[in-house]
């Protein structure tokens, strides 16, 4: 074999014209930007991040190999790790179900036959268009304890509102509400899922005398489970990556009540310049997200309903 190879390379000038089969290479040429980008900006950095996580690596100065000690420190000797993780979990436990329920509710309302539904759809989607820092600025003003409109509305109901962002008990909830405001995309995805449910199913159920609630739980919800699965996974991932809002609005305060895990990773890297330690933090986050996603996927065989499954079993 080796010998053949050498011979053929000697004749390269004669043979290439015939040998290079452009038809075979074409697909690789088309996808090559992705392959290069993947190696350069995803796989390379991913592996390098794992590598750095075993070092004590300040941005300037010598790096030293420390084995698993970054990981050990995190779990045993760093209260901020547990604290930020707990803040993120609390956020996710509020944000994920509320986000799913609210966007599903809005989608169901918009799926009703109404002349103005496209207008309402626009209203609900508008906040998603301007998300990020602008969203943080607007909510910072809405939450203002003395002059904000949120407390004004609460005062109409006779409630004296807190100074939301400066109150340890309420700041995280404030983050949840502001995040929910910019989630119109999920509503659109649910709406698309609802539109794909065949109308004749409802007609048939109605003839059988089924009520609205029965239809929702026996037709709408089961047929929507694949969409639900998609939305559930993307919401969980986005909940764990929550950062911009806290970075701009509270800086993690008051008293660390909005100190998200992503902020912990960010600050270890770019505030304290502990590159090795921060990489270890990031890997733990990756593993948590991966674990949760797998869990949802695995459980989905129990609760997600696929049309073709039923067809096959019939």
């Amino acid at each position: 074999m080796k010998h053949d190879l050498i011979v053929s390379t000697e004749n390269v000038s004669v043979q290439t014209k015939r040998k290079i089969n452009w038809g075979r290479l074409a697909p690789y040429i088309f996808i090559s930007p992705w392959i290069i980008g993947f190696l350069l900006f995803t796989l390379g950095p991913l592996l390098f991040s794992l590598f750095i996580s075993f070092f004590d690596w300040p941005i300037v100065g010598e790096k030293t190999f420390v084995g698993f000690s970054n990981y050990a420190t995190m779990f045993t000797d760093d209260p901020l790790f547990w604290h930020s993780l707990w803040v993120t979990v609390k956020f996710a436990m509020l944000f994920v179900p509320l986000n799913i329920i609210i966007s599903l509710f809005l989608a169901i309302l918009l799926n009703k036959k109404l002349k103005a539904s496209s207008l309402f759809r626009t209203f609900f989607y508008v906040p998603s268009v301007i998300s990020g820092v602008a969203l943080a600025m607007i909510w910072g003003w809405v939450y203002n304890g003395e002059y904000g409109i949120l407390n004004y509305f609460l005062s109409l109901a006779g409630i004296e509102g807190p100074d939301w962002l400066n109150n340890q008990r309420w700041a995280l909830l404030a983050m949840v509400i502001a995040s929910l405001w910019g989630q119109g995309t999920m509503m659109l995805i649910f709406l698309a899922g609802l539109k794909n449910i065949p109308k004749d199913l409802y007609e048939a159920a109605e003839i059988d005398g089924a009520g609205k609630v029965y239809c929702f739980f026996k037709i709408t919800l089961p047929l929507l489970t694949p969409t639900l699965l998609f939305n559930l996974i993307t919401t969980i991932i986005s909940a764990f990556q929550q950062l911009t809002l806290a970075l701009v609005l509270t800086g993690g305060g008051p008293l660390g009540s909005t100190y998200f895990y992503a902020m912990y990773v960010y600050e270890n890297a770019f505030k304290y310049f502990k590159m090795g330690y921060s990489s270890a933090n990031a890997w733990i986050m990756f593993l948590i997200v991966l674990f949760l996603t797998m869990l949802v996927f695995k459980s989905s065989s129990v609760w997600v309903y696929y049309e073709n499954e039923v067809k096959n079993s019939k």
């Binding site: 074409a26 040429i29 088309f30 992705w34 390379g44 950095p45 309302l109 009703k112 607007i138 998609f230």
Partner: protein
């Protein structure tokens, strides 16, 4: 029967109007704040409409910092990333959708899997990489990666290309067209609705991006609008009306774009991949 239906759609309208007010109130509050004079800002109960409209607030706030420079940087980044995403993602999607080749399905699985990697994991090595290239404090780290395609856009485009009849390709090939010509002359024109969709998505994410500029840019002359706005927040000599005025101005381009492209966004989301 008829009156019952009327009541039902009536309550539905009331609920929808109420919810719309809930969604739009913060927005409305931003706009009117931007137009108030300082003495009307801090009132409780709040004043919904300013007694005199202070349009000069916009100019004053805009000029209190080099927002023209920030705008220029944002425009450059947004334009070049959007162009890059469209060129690269359409080529890559065409490659995945129209050819059978060794490792295709595996590579496509890998592509989809990369959507799950949190950005935090690759953030530090990317920073080091760009530092090594000498790109820190330039706009390159924000622009260059966009020219290598994004998994989500590639996925959407691939789904779309797979719905284009193969007979079109075969007919073109009979006429002597090569693969690139088929992509360029046949598929690209058909892909327009999805190209508009990813153009809009990319415009929004690039225009609204905060973390990228925050990490890769240090020098004020390189700042993008979001970074300028966030910095504005921390300064004590500016008032709420100024902050809200700039917030409004920065939100305007995405809003205008959304207004014209909403048909594509809504149809795009409902027609591609989420069935």
């Amino acid at each position: 029967m008829k009156s019952k239906r009327l009541i039902r759609s009536g309550t539905l309208y009331i609920v929808l109007v109420f919810l719309s007010l809930l969604f739009l109130a913060p927005f409305f509050w931003m706009v009117t704040t931007a137009l108030k004079s300082p003495d009307e800002l801090y009132m409780f109960p709040p004043k919904w409409f300013p007694s005199s409209w202070q349009f000069e607030n916009f100019g004053k706030a805009w000029n209190s910092q080099p927002f023209n420079t920030f705008l220029m940087n944002s425009v450059i980044v947004t334009f070049l990333t959007t162009l890059g995403q469209i060129v690269s993602s359409t080529l890559i999607a065409y490659g995945f959708a129209r050819f059978k080749f060794k490792g295709r399905d595996f590579l496509f699985m890998v592509l989809l899997a990369t959507m799950m990697i949190p950005w935090e994991v690759t953030m530090i090595p990317q920073y080091m990489e760009f530092n090594y290239f000498g790109w820190i404090n330039t706009l390159k780290p924000l622009i260059v990666p966009a020219w290598f395609g994004a998994p989500f856009y590639i996925f959407l485009l691939r789904q779309f290309i797979m719905s284009i009849p193969k007979e079109l390709d075969e007919a073109a090939r009979m006429d002597g067209a090569n693969s690139f010509q088929i992509y360029y002359r046949i598929h690209l024109p058909l892909m327009w609705p999805i190209i508009v969709l990813i153009g809009v998505f990319n415009f929004l994410s690039s225009w609204n991006d905060y973390l990228g500029p925050l990490i890769f840019l240090n020098d004020q002359s390189k700042y993008t609008l979001t970074l300028g706005l966030a910095q504005f927040n921390g300064m004590y000599d500016v008032n709420m009306e100024g902050i809200m005025a700039v917030t409004f101005l920065i939100s305007l381009p995405p809003l205008i774009l959304f207004f014209f492209a909403q048909k594509y966004i809504v149809n795009g989301v409902s027609s591609t991949g989420f069935k």
